[in-house]
Protein backbone atom coordinates (compact mmCIF):
# COMPACT_ATOMS: atom_id res chain seq x y z
CA UNK A 1 0.00 0.00 0.00
CA UNK A 2 2.93 2.32 0.72
CA UNK A 3 4.01 1.87 -2.90
CA UNK A 4 0.54 2.94 -4.14
CA UNK A 5 0.50 5.93 -1.80
CA UNK A 6 3.92 6.87 -3.18
CA UNK A 7 2.57 6.55 -6.73
CA UNK A 8 -0.41 8.71 -5.77
CA UNK A 9 2.01 11.40 -4.53
CA UNK A 10 3.84 11.16 -7.83
CA UNK A 11 0.54 11.56 -9.69
CA UNK A 12 -0.38 14.59 -7.60
CA UNK A 13 2.85 16.31 -8.58
CA UNK A 14 1.83 16.06 -12.25
CA UNK A 15 1.30 19.51 -13.88
CA UNK A 16 2.88 21.24 -10.87
CA UNK A 17 6.12 23.11 -10.27
CA UNK A 18 7.51 20.12 -8.33
CA UNK A 19 9.25 18.26 -11.22
CA UNK A 20 10.70 21.53 -12.48
CA UNK A 21 11.87 22.42 -8.99
CA UNK A 22 13.68 19.08 -8.71
CA UNK A 23 15.30 19.54 -12.08
CA UNK A 24 16.14 23.24 -11.87
CA UNK A 25 17.22 22.98 -8.21
CA UNK A 26 19.77 20.32 -9.07
CA UNK A 27 20.95 22.10 -12.20
CA UNK A 28 21.31 25.64 -10.86
CA UNK A 29 24.60 25.31 -8.95
CA UNK A 30 26.48 23.22 -11.58
CA UNK A 31 25.27 25.70 -14.21
CA UNK A 32 26.56 28.71 -12.22
CA UNK A 33 29.90 26.95 -11.63
CA UNK A 34 30.06 26.04 -15.33
CA UNK A 35 29.52 29.69 -16.31
CA UNK A 36 32.15 30.90 -13.82
CA UNK A 37 34.63 28.38 -15.24
CA UNK A 38 33.66 29.37 -18.79
CA UNK A 39 34.32 33.08 -18.28
CA UNK A 40 37.26 32.83 -15.87
CA UNK A 41 38.76 29.57 -17.09
CA UNK A 42 42.34 30.82 -16.88
CA UNK A 43 42.05 31.17 -13.08
CA UNK A 44 41.09 27.56 -12.78
CA UNK A 45 43.91 25.90 -14.72
CA UNK A 46 45.13 23.28 -12.22
CA UNK A 47 48.68 22.86 -11.02
CA UNK A 48 50.48 19.75 -12.09
CA UNK A 49 49.13 16.61 -10.47
CA UNK A 50 45.96 18.25 -9.21
CA UNK A 51 42.65 16.70 -10.31
CA UNK A 52 40.37 19.47 -11.68
CA UNK A 53 37.30 17.46 -10.77
CA UNK A 54 37.98 17.77 -7.03
CA UNK A 55 38.04 21.58 -7.10
CA UNK A 56 35.04 21.81 -9.43
CA UNK A 57 32.99 19.43 -7.26
CA UNK A 58 33.93 21.26 -4.06
CA UNK A 59 32.99 24.63 -5.58
CA UNK A 60 29.54 23.31 -6.53
CA UNK A 61 29.06 21.66 -3.16
CA UNK A 62 29.95 24.80 -1.21
CA UNK A 63 27.52 26.89 -3.30
CA UNK A 64 24.74 24.34 -2.85
CA UNK A 65 25.19 23.58 0.82
CA UNK A 66 24.85 27.00 2.44
CA UNK A 67 21.49 28.21 1.24
CA UNK A 68 20.32 26.68 -2.02
CA UNK A 69 19.59 23.13 -0.95
CA UNK A 70 18.17 24.00 2.50
CA UNK A 71 15.86 26.49 0.73
CA UNK A 72 15.02 23.88 -1.86
CA UNK A 73 14.00 21.43 0.87
CA UNK A 74 11.89 24.09 2.61
CA UNK A 75 10.01 24.90 -0.62
CA UNK A 76 9.63 21.25 -1.64
CA UNK A 77 8.00 20.28 1.64
CA UNK A 78 5.80 23.38 1.82
CA UNK A 79 4.56 22.86 -1.76
CA UNK A 80 3.70 19.23 -1.11
CA UNK A 81 1.67 19.93 2.02
CA UNK A 82 0.10 23.01 0.43
CA UNK A 83 -1.22 20.82 -2.38
CA UNK A 84 -3.46 19.10 0.18
CA UNK A 85 -4.37 22.31 2.00
CA UNK A 86 -5.29 24.02 -1.27
CA UNK A 87 -7.46 21.10 -2.42
CA UNK A 88 -8.98 20.79 1.08
CA UNK A 89 -8.23 17.11 0.69
CA UNK A 90 -7.16 15.95 4.16
CA UNK A 91 -10.72 14.96 5.05
CA UNK A 92 -10.99 12.89 1.86
CA UNK A 93 -7.60 11.24 2.36
CA UNK A 94 -8.57 10.27 5.91
CA UNK A 95 -11.74 8.47 4.80
CA UNK A 96 -9.97 6.29 2.27
CA UNK A 97 -9.17 2.66 2.95
CA UNK A 98 -5.56 3.65 3.58
CA UNK A 99 -4.28 4.05 7.11
CA UNK A 100 -3.12 7.44 8.25
CA UNK A 101 0.35 6.02 8.90
CA UNK A 102 0.56 4.75 5.30
CA UNK A 103 -0.47 8.18 4.00
CA UNK A 104 2.12 9.79 6.24
CA UNK A 105 5.01 7.53 5.25
CA UNK A 106 4.00 7.69 1.58
CA UNK A 107 4.35 11.46 1.65
CA UNK A 108 7.62 11.40 3.57
CA UNK A 109 9.03 8.74 1.27
CA UNK A 110 8.07 10.82 -1.76
CA UNK A 111 9.71 13.95 -0.32
CA UNK A 112 12.84 12.03 0.67
CA UNK A 113 13.07 10.48 -2.80
CA UNK A 114 12.63 13.90 -4.37
CA UNK A 115 15.52 15.23 -2.31
CA UNK A 116 17.66 12.19 -3.11
CA UNK A 117 17.00 12.60 -6.84
CA UNK A 118 17.86 16.28 -6.56
CA UNK A 119 21.16 15.51 -4.80
CA UNK A 120 22.14 12.74 -7.21
CA UNK A 121 21.13 14.86 -10.19
CA UNK A 122 23.31 17.71 -8.96
CA UNK A 123 26.37 15.48 -9.07
CA UNK A 124 25.29 14.18 -12.46
CA UNK A 125 25.14 17.76 -13.75
CA UNK A 126 28.57 18.43 -12.20
CA UNK A 127 29.89 15.49 -14.21
CA UNK A 128 28.22 16.60 -17.42
CA UNK A 129 29.19 20.28 -17.19
CA UNK A 130 32.76 19.21 -16.26
CA UNK A 131 32.94 17.14 -19.45
CA UNK A 132 31.71 20.10 -21.49
CA UNK A 133 34.36 22.31 -19.88
CA UNK A 134 36.97 19.70 -20.74
CA UNK A 135 35.90 19.84 -24.39
CA UNK A 136 35.64 23.65 -24.49
CA UNK A 137 38.88 24.34 -22.57
CA UNK A 138 41.28 21.37 -22.68
CA UNK A 139 43.70 23.42 -20.52
CA UNK A 140 41.42 22.75 -17.54
CA UNK A 141 42.44 19.09 -17.84
CA UNK A 142 38.97 17.69 -17.16
CA UNK A 143 39.57 15.12 -19.87
CA UNK A 144 43.04 14.27 -18.58
CA UNK A 145 41.74 13.01 -15.25
CA UNK A 146 38.82 10.68 -14.74
CA UNK A 147 36.21 11.80 -12.26
CA UNK A 148 35.83 9.47 -9.29
CA UNK A 149 32.24 8.39 -10.02
CA UNK A 150 31.96 6.29 -6.88
CA UNK A 151 33.19 9.17 -4.74
CA UNK A 152 30.72 11.54 -6.44
CA UNK A 153 27.88 9.15 -5.79
CA UNK A 154 28.90 8.77 -2.15
CA UNK A 155 29.17 12.55 -1.82
CA UNK A 156 25.65 12.96 -3.21
CA UNK A 157 24.29 10.36 -0.77
CA UNK A 158 26.05 11.95 2.20
CA UNK A 159 24.91 15.40 1.13
CA UNK A 160 21.37 14.01 1.01
CA UNK A 161 21.79 12.58 4.52
CA UNK A 162 23.00 15.94 5.84
CA UNK A 163 19.73 17.49 4.58
CA UNK A 164 17.36 14.91 6.10
CA UNK A 165 17.17 16.74 9.44
CA UNK A 166 15.93 19.92 7.73
CA UNK A 167 13.43 17.89 5.68
CA UNK A 168 11.84 16.25 8.72
CA UNK A 169 11.64 19.50 10.72
CA UNK A 170 10.01 21.30 7.79
CA UNK A 171 7.60 18.39 7.31
CA UNK A 172 6.63 18.59 10.97
CA UNK A 173 6.19 22.38 10.79
CA UNK A 174 4.10 22.24 7.61
CA UNK A 175 1.76 19.64 9.09
CA UNK A 176 1.53 21.53 12.36
CA UNK A 177 0.79 24.91 10.84
CA UNK A 178 -1.40 23.88 7.86
CA UNK A 179 -0.06 26.84 5.99
CA UNK A 180 2.50 27.61 3.28
CA UNK A 181 3.84 31.01 4.35
CA UNK A 182 4.70 30.41 8.01
CA UNK A 183 6.78 27.20 7.59
CA UNK A 184 8.68 28.76 4.67
CA UNK A 185 9.36 31.94 6.66
CA UNK A 186 10.41 29.95 9.73
CA UNK A 187 12.65 27.72 7.61
CA UNK A 188 14.32 30.62 5.79
CA UNK A 189 14.94 32.43 9.06
CA UNK A 190 16.43 29.31 10.63
CA UNK A 191 18.77 28.87 7.62
CA UNK A 192 19.93 32.49 7.80
CA UNK A 193 20.45 32.39 11.59
CA UNK A 194 22.33 29.10 11.22
CA UNK A 195 24.59 30.60 8.55
CA UNK A 196 25.46 33.44 10.92
CA UNK A 197 25.97 31.22 13.95
CA UNK A 198 28.02 28.57 12.19
CA UNK A 199 30.88 31.06 11.78
CA UNK A 200 31.73 30.96 15.46
CA UNK A 201 29.16 29.11 17.55
CA UNK A 202 30.60 25.89 18.91
CA UNK A 203 27.15 24.22 19.17
CA UNK A 204 26.44 24.59 15.46
CA UNK A 205 27.31 20.91 15.14
CA UNK A 206 23.88 20.29 16.70
CA UNK A 207 22.02 22.72 14.44
CA UNK A 208 20.37 20.73 11.60
CA UNK A 209 20.11 23.77 9.34
CA UNK A 210 23.92 24.10 9.48
CA UNK A 211 24.61 20.41 8.70
CA UNK A 212 24.83 20.74 4.88
CA UNK A 213 27.32 23.58 5.20
CA UNK A 214 29.35 21.70 7.81
CA UNK A 215 29.41 18.72 5.46
CA UNK A 216 30.75 20.94 2.70
CA UNK A 217 33.34 22.48 5.04
CA UNK A 218 34.50 19.06 6.11
CA UNK A 219 34.84 18.03 2.48
CA UNK A 220 36.95 21.09 1.68
CA UNK A 221 39.06 20.70 4.82
CA UNK A 222 37.85 23.99 6.34
CA UNK A 223 36.59 22.14 9.39
CA UNK A 224 37.48 18.56 10.19
CA UNK A 225 34.96 16.30 11.86
CA UNK A 226 35.60 12.82 13.10
CA UNK A 227 33.91 10.16 11.01
CA UNK A 228 32.14 7.21 12.64
CA UNK A 229 31.58 4.23 10.39
CA UNK A 230 32.11 6.35 7.30
CA UNK A 231 29.74 9.17 8.34
CA UNK A 232 30.38 12.46 10.11
CA UNK A 233 28.88 13.35 13.49
CA UNK A 234 26.56 15.86 11.78
CA UNK A 235 25.35 13.18 9.34
CA UNK A 236 24.50 10.82 12.21
CA UNK A 237 22.77 13.68 13.99
CA UNK A 238 20.87 14.57 10.81
CA UNK A 239 19.53 11.00 10.67
CA UNK A 240 18.65 11.18 14.35
CA UNK A 241 16.72 14.43 13.79
CA UNK A 242 15.02 12.77 10.82
CA UNK A 243 13.85 9.87 12.95
CA UNK A 244 12.77 12.00 15.93
CA UNK A 245 10.90 14.66 13.91
CA UNK A 246 9.33 12.07 11.61
CA UNK A 247 7.92 10.24 14.63
CA UNK A 248 6.69 13.54 16.09
CA UNK A 249 5.10 14.45 12.75
CA UNK A 250 3.46 11.02 12.52
CA UNK A 251 1.92 11.34 15.98
CA UNK A 252 0.62 14.76 14.97
CA UNK A 253 -0.69 13.43 11.65
CA UNK A 254 -2.49 10.51 13.26
CA UNK A 255 -4.10 12.49 16.05
CA UNK A 256 -4.99 15.62 14.16
CA UNK A 257 -8.74 16.24 14.00
CA UNK A 258 -10.08 17.52 10.69
CA UNK A 259 -12.36 20.52 11.00
Amino acid sequence: MLYKTFLAELKKSQHTFVPWLTLSGSLLVPLVCFLIYCFKWKYFIPETGVNSWDEYTQMSLSFASGMLFPFLVIIMVALNINLENKANSWKRLYVMPVGRDTLFWGKLLFLSMQLLICSVFMFFWILLTGLFLGIMHPELLFLEYSPDIFNLLMLSLRFFISLLGVLSIQYFLSLLLNNIIVPITAGVMLVIVSLMLVQGWEYSVYDPYAFPLLFSWNNSGKMVQIAWWGLLKTEWLSMLYYIVFSIMAMVLFKRKPVR
Binding site: A8, A87, S89, V95, P97, V98, P257
Partner: protein, 301 residues
Amino acid sequence: MITVRNLEFSYKKGDKTIDDLTFHVPHGSIYGFLGANGSGKTTTIRLMLGLCRAESGEIMIGGEQINRQSVEAFRKIGALIENPSIYGHLTGKENLQLHTLYYGLDRRQIMNALSMVGLRYVAEKKAGRYSLGMKQRLGLALCLLHNPSLLILDEPLNGLDPQGIAEIRALLLQMQREEGKTIFISSHLLSEIENTCDAICIIDKGKMLFSGKIEALRDSVIRKRVYKITSDRPEEAMQLIQPLVTSKITKDGNGCLIYIEDKEIIPDIISRLTEKNIRIYEVTGIENNLEELYLKLTNRL
Protein backbone atom coordinates in the same frame (compact mmCIF):
# COMPACT_ATOMS: atom_id res chain seq x y z
CA MET B 1 -26.95 0.45 8.25
CA ILE B 2 -25.97 3.38 10.46
CA THR B 3 -26.68 3.51 14.17
CA VAL B 4 -25.70 6.53 16.21
CA ARG B 5 -26.29 6.24 19.95
CA ASN B 6 -25.94 8.90 22.63
CA LEU B 7 -23.29 10.76 20.67
CA GLU B 8 -21.65 13.70 22.42
CA PHE B 9 -18.95 16.04 21.20
CA SER B 10 -17.72 19.55 21.91
CA TYR B 11 -15.06 21.72 20.31
CA LYS B 12 -14.84 23.80 23.50
CA LYS B 13 -15.18 22.41 26.97
CA GLY B 14 -18.63 22.99 28.38
CA ASP B 15 -20.12 23.99 25.02
CA LYS B 16 -21.65 20.89 23.50
CA THR B 17 -21.73 20.86 19.71
CA ILE B 18 -23.44 17.46 19.67
CA ASP B 19 -25.59 16.59 22.63
CA ASP B 20 -26.89 13.05 23.18
CA LEU B 21 -27.65 12.44 19.50
CA THR B 22 -29.32 9.16 18.60
CA PHE B 23 -30.70 8.00 15.27
CA HIS B 24 -30.83 4.96 13.04
CA VAL B 25 -30.54 4.82 9.26
CA PRO B 26 -32.18 1.68 7.85
CA HIS B 27 -30.36 -0.37 5.22
CA GLY B 28 -31.31 0.58 1.66
CA SER B 29 -32.99 3.86 2.59
CA ILE B 30 -32.38 7.46 1.65
CA TYR B 31 -32.11 9.29 4.92
CA GLY B 32 -32.23 13.07 5.20
CA PHE B 33 -30.29 14.95 7.83
CA LEU B 34 -31.61 18.43 8.47
CA GLY B 35 -30.57 21.32 10.60
CA ALA B 36 -29.80 25.01 10.45
CA ASN B 37 -26.28 26.32 9.85
CA GLY B 38 -24.19 25.52 12.92
CA SER B 39 -26.67 22.94 14.21
CA GLY B 40 -24.01 20.21 14.11
CA LYS B 41 -24.77 18.40 10.84
CA THR B 42 -21.25 18.46 9.43
CA THR B 43 -19.74 17.73 12.84
CA THR B 44 -21.99 14.67 13.11
CA ILE B 45 -20.81 13.51 9.68
CA ARG B 46 -17.18 14.08 10.68
CA LEU B 47 -17.75 12.02 13.81
CA MET B 48 -19.43 9.29 11.78
CA LEU B 49 -16.37 9.13 9.53
CA GLY B 50 -13.85 9.16 12.36
CA LEU B 51 -12.47 12.58 11.42
CA CYS B 52 -13.16 13.81 14.95
CA ARG B 53 -13.21 11.76 18.14
CA ALA B 54 -16.53 11.62 20.01
CA GLU B 55 -16.48 12.29 23.76
CA SER B 56 -19.00 9.57 24.32
CA GLY B 57 -21.52 7.51 22.43
CA GLU B 58 -21.35 4.92 19.74
CA ILE B 59 -21.36 4.96 15.94
CA MET B 60 -21.92 1.71 14.10
CA ILE B 61 -21.78 1.48 10.31
CA GLY B 62 -22.73 -1.84 8.75
CA GLY B 63 -22.38 -3.45 12.17
CA GLU B 64 -18.86 -2.15 12.69
CA GLN B 65 -17.80 0.48 15.17
CA ILE B 66 -16.20 3.38 13.32
CA ASN B 67 -12.99 5.04 14.45
CA ARG B 68 -9.67 6.10 12.96
CA GLN B 69 -8.53 2.50 12.71
CA SER B 70 -11.55 1.46 10.62
CA VAL B 71 -9.53 1.49 7.42
CA GLU B 72 -11.27 -1.40 5.68
CA ALA B 73 -14.74 -0.12 6.62
CA PHE B 74 -14.09 2.88 4.37
CA ARG B 75 -14.16 0.59 1.31
CA LYS B 76 -17.94 0.41 1.58
CA ILE B 77 -18.41 4.12 2.30
CA GLY B 78 -18.42 6.93 -0.24
CA ALA B 79 -18.25 10.29 1.49
CA LEU B 80 -18.65 13.84 0.27
CA ILE B 81 -17.97 16.25 3.11
CA GLU B 82 -18.92 19.90 2.51
CA ASN B 83 -16.99 21.17 -0.52
CA PRO B 84 -15.55 18.40 -2.66
CA SER B 85 -11.82 17.79 -2.26
CA ILE B 86 -10.47 18.21 -5.74
CA TYR B 87 -6.96 18.80 -7.02
CA GLY B 88 -7.51 21.77 -9.31
CA HIS B 89 -4.26 21.28 -11.23
CA LEU B 90 -5.32 17.79 -12.32
CA THR B 91 -8.03 17.00 -14.86
CA GLY B 92 -11.29 15.38 -13.77
CA LYS B 93 -10.03 12.06 -15.09
CA GLU B 94 -6.69 12.40 -13.29
CA ASN B 95 -8.47 13.18 -10.02
CA LEU B 96 -10.28 9.86 -10.39
CA GLN B 97 -7.06 8.08 -11.44
CA LEU B 98 -5.56 9.20 -8.15
CA HIS B 99 -8.41 7.52 -6.32
CA THR B 100 -8.01 4.29 -8.27
CA LEU B 101 -4.48 4.16 -6.84
CA TYR B 102 -5.65 4.58 -3.25
CA TYR B 103 -8.51 2.10 -3.66
CA GLY B 104 -6.62 -0.34 -5.89
CA LEU B 105 -9.29 -0.11 -8.59
CA ASP B 106 -9.34 -0.78 -12.30
CA ARG B 107 -8.90 2.42 -14.31
CA ARG B 108 -11.77 1.37 -16.62
CA GLN B 109 -14.20 2.40 -13.87
CA ILE B 110 -13.19 6.03 -14.26
CA MET B 111 -15.21 6.80 -17.39
CA ASN B 112 -18.25 5.01 -15.92
CA ALA B 113 -18.16 7.21 -12.83
CA LEU B 114 -17.74 10.33 -14.97
CA SER B 115 -20.66 9.28 -17.20
CA MET B 116 -22.89 8.70 -14.19
CA VAL B 117 -22.49 12.30 -13.07
CA GLY B 118 -22.53 13.71 -16.61
CA LEU B 119 -18.90 14.84 -16.73
CA ARG B 120 -17.52 12.54 -19.41
CA TYR B 121 -17.35 15.41 -21.89
CA VAL B 122 -15.01 17.41 -19.62
CA ALA B 123 -12.89 14.47 -18.44
CA GLU B 124 -9.71 16.02 -19.85
CA LYS B 125 -10.37 19.53 -18.57
CA LYS B 126 -8.48 20.81 -15.50
CA ALA B 127 -10.78 20.45 -12.47
CA GLY B 128 -9.77 23.93 -11.30
CA ARG B 129 -11.62 25.32 -14.32
CA TYR B 130 -14.84 23.47 -13.52
CA SER B 131 -17.88 25.44 -12.40
CA LEU B 132 -19.11 24.95 -8.83
CA GLY B 133 -21.78 22.53 -10.01
CA MET B 134 -19.25 20.55 -12.04
CA LYS B 135 -16.94 20.33 -9.03
CA GLN B 136 -19.84 19.04 -6.99
CA ARG B 137 -20.52 16.39 -9.64
CA LEU B 138 -16.85 15.43 -9.68
CA GLY B 139 -17.01 15.11 -5.89
CA LEU B 140 -19.92 12.73 -6.35
CA ALA B 141 -18.00 10.76 -8.99
CA LEU B 142 -15.14 10.37 -6.49
CA CYS B 143 -17.67 8.98 -3.98
CA LEU B 144 -19.17 6.55 -6.47
CA LEU B 145 -15.94 5.33 -8.07
CA HIS B 146 -15.39 2.39 -5.71
CA ASN B 147 -19.09 1.39 -5.79
CA PRO B 148 -19.74 1.79 -2.06
CA SER B 149 -22.87 0.39 -0.42
CA LEU B 150 -23.24 3.49 1.75
CA LEU B 151 -23.08 7.09 0.58
CA ILE B 152 -22.64 9.86 3.13
CA LEU B 153 -23.27 13.13 1.34
CA ASP B 154 -22.98 16.50 3.03
CA GLU B 155 -24.84 19.14 1.00
CA PRO B 156 -24.35 17.30 -2.32
CA LEU B 157 -26.67 19.60 -4.22
CA ASN B 158 -24.75 22.78 -3.42
CA GLY B 159 -24.06 24.85 -6.50
CA LEU B 160 -26.13 22.70 -8.84
CA ASP B 161 -28.64 24.28 -11.20
CA PRO B 162 -32.25 23.00 -11.22
CA GLN B 163 -31.47 20.53 -14.01
CA GLY B 164 -28.40 19.33 -12.14
CA ILE B 165 -30.43 18.90 -8.95
CA ALA B 166 -33.04 16.86 -10.83
CA GLU B 167 -30.32 14.69 -12.44
CA ILE B 168 -28.53 14.01 -9.18
CA ARG B 169 -31.83 13.33 -7.43
CA ALA B 170 -32.72 10.82 -10.16
CA LEU B 171 -29.26 9.25 -9.85
CA LEU B 172 -29.58 8.86 -6.07
CA LEU B 173 -33.05 7.36 -6.37
CA GLN B 174 -31.83 4.99 -9.08
CA MET B 175 -28.89 3.86 -6.95
CA GLN B 176 -31.19 3.22 -4.01
CA ARG B 177 -33.81 1.32 -6.00
CA GLU B 178 -31.61 -0.64 -8.41
CA GLU B 179 -28.47 -1.18 -6.37
CA GLY B 180 -29.93 -1.06 -2.85
CA LYS B 181 -27.48 1.58 -1.69
CA THR B 182 -28.06 3.34 1.60
CA ILE B 183 -27.78 7.09 1.22
CA PHE B 184 -27.34 9.50 4.10
CA ILE B 185 -27.81 13.02 2.83
CA SER B 186 -27.56 16.32 4.64
CA SER B 187 -29.03 19.28 2.84
CA HIS B 188 -30.58 22.65 3.45
CA LEU B 189 -32.78 22.20 0.36
CA LEU B 190 -35.80 20.95 2.25
CA SER B 191 -37.92 20.38 -0.83
CA GLU B 192 -35.22 18.07 -2.20
CA ILE B 193 -35.08 16.13 1.04
CA GLU B 194 -38.86 15.86 0.94
CA ASN B 195 -38.79 14.57 -2.65
CA THR B 196 -35.93 12.15 -2.15
CA CYS B 197 -35.81 10.82 1.40
CA ASP B 198 -37.68 7.98 3.05
CA ALA B 199 -36.98 9.25 6.53
CA ILE B 200 -35.34 12.25 8.14
CA CYS B 201 -33.55 13.39 11.25
CA ILE B 202 -33.77 17.02 12.34
CA ILE B 203 -31.20 18.43 14.71
CA ASP B 204 -30.89 21.82 16.32
CA LYS B 205 -27.97 22.99 18.47
CA GLY B 206 -26.61 19.45 18.40
CA LYS B 207 -29.78 17.90 19.80
CA MET B 208 -32.14 15.66 17.93
CA LEU B 209 -35.59 17.16 17.51
CA PHE B 210 -37.10 14.48 15.33
CA SER B 211 -36.18 11.21 13.70
CA GLY B 212 -38.53 9.18 11.52
CA LYS B 213 -40.78 9.43 8.45
CA ILE B 214 -41.95 12.82 7.19
CA GLU B 215 -45.60 11.77 7.67
CA ALA B 216 -44.86 11.06 11.32
CA LEU B 217 -43.34 14.53 11.59
CA ARG B 218 -46.54 16.03 10.18
CA ASP B 219 -48.64 14.17 12.72
CA SER B 220 -46.44 15.15 15.61
CA VAL B 221 -45.98 18.81 14.70
CA ILE B 222 -49.19 19.87 13.07
CA ARG B 223 -52.27 19.80 15.23
CA LYS B 224 -54.52 21.71 12.82
CA ARG B 225 -54.71 20.54 9.23
CA VAL B 226 -55.73 22.79 6.37
CA TYR B 227 -58.51 21.85 3.94
CA LYS B 228 -59.70 23.77 0.91
CA ILE B 229 -63.41 23.55 0.06
CA THR B 230 -64.23 24.66 -3.49
CA SER B 231 -67.88 25.52 -4.18
CA ASP B 232 -70.12 27.63 -6.42
CA ARG B 233 -70.82 30.19 -3.64
CA PRO B 234 -67.68 30.49 -1.49
CA GLU B 235 -68.71 33.56 0.56
CA GLU B 236 -72.00 31.95 1.59
CA ALA B 237 -70.21 28.69 2.34
CA MET B 238 -67.79 30.53 4.63
CA GLN B 239 -70.67 31.98 6.66
CA LEU B 240 -72.29 28.54 6.98
CA ILE B 241 -69.06 26.80 8.04
CA GLN B 242 -67.89 29.41 10.57
CA PRO B 243 -70.15 28.25 13.47
CA LEU B 244 -68.83 24.70 13.04
CA VAL B 245 -65.11 25.51 13.43
CA THR B 246 -63.20 27.41 16.10
CA SER B 247 -60.53 29.05 13.96
CA LYS B 248 -60.87 31.73 11.32
CA ILE B 249 -61.80 30.77 7.75
CA THR B 250 -60.03 32.45 4.87
CA LYS B 251 -61.08 32.84 1.25
CA ASP B 252 -58.85 31.32 -1.40
CA GLY B 253 -59.99 31.81 -5.02
CA ASN B 254 -63.33 30.08 -5.55
CA GLY B 255 -62.97 28.19 -2.31
CA CYS B 256 -62.21 28.69 1.35
CA LEU B 257 -59.50 27.40 3.65
CA ILE B 258 -60.46 25.88 6.95
CA TYR B 259 -58.11 24.91 9.81
CA ILE B 260 -59.33 21.93 11.82
CA GLU B 261 -57.87 19.50 14.34
CA ASP B 262 -60.35 16.66 13.76
CA LYS B 263 -61.28 15.61 10.22
CA GLU B 264 -64.50 14.01 11.55
CA ILE B 265 -66.06 17.45 11.21
CA ILE B 266 -65.74 17.42 7.39
CA PRO B 267 -68.90 15.30 6.73
CA ASP B 268 -70.89 17.75 8.94
CA ILE B 269 -69.60 20.68 6.91
CA ILE B 270 -70.53 18.96 3.63
CA SER B 271 -74.06 18.16 4.96
CA ARG B 272 -74.58 21.76 6.09
CA LEU B 273 -73.53 23.13 2.66
CA THR B 274 -75.59 20.64 0.62
CA GLU B 275 -78.67 21.35 2.78
CA LYS B 276 -78.40 24.97 1.57
CA ASN B 277 -77.97 23.81 -2.04
CA ILE B 278 -74.36 24.90 -2.30
CA ARG B 279 -72.62 22.80 -4.89
CA ILE B 280 -69.31 21.40 -3.62
CA TYR B 281 -66.76 20.72 -6.32
CA GLU B 282 -63.79 19.65 -4.26
CA VAL B 283 -62.54 19.13 -0.70
CA THR B 284 -58.74 18.94 -0.61
CA GLY B 285 -56.38 18.47 2.29
CA ILE B 286 -53.42 20.79 1.98
CA GLU B 287 -50.27 19.24 3.38
CA ASN B 288 -47.71 21.40 5.12
CA ASN B 289 -44.44 21.14 3.30
CA LEU B 290 -41.26 20.09 5.03
CA GLU B 291 -40.06 23.67 5.25
CA GLU B 292 -43.06 24.69 7.34
CA LEU B 293 -42.76 21.58 9.47
CA TYR B 294 -39.07 22.21 10.00
CA LEU B 295 -39.60 25.84 10.97
CA LYS B 296 -42.44 24.92 13.31
CA LEU B 297 -40.36 22.19 14.92
CA THR B 298 -37.40 24.48 15.47
CA ASN B 299 -39.72 27.26 16.72
CA ARG B 300 -38.74 29.57 13.89
CA LEU B 301 -42.30 30.02 12.59
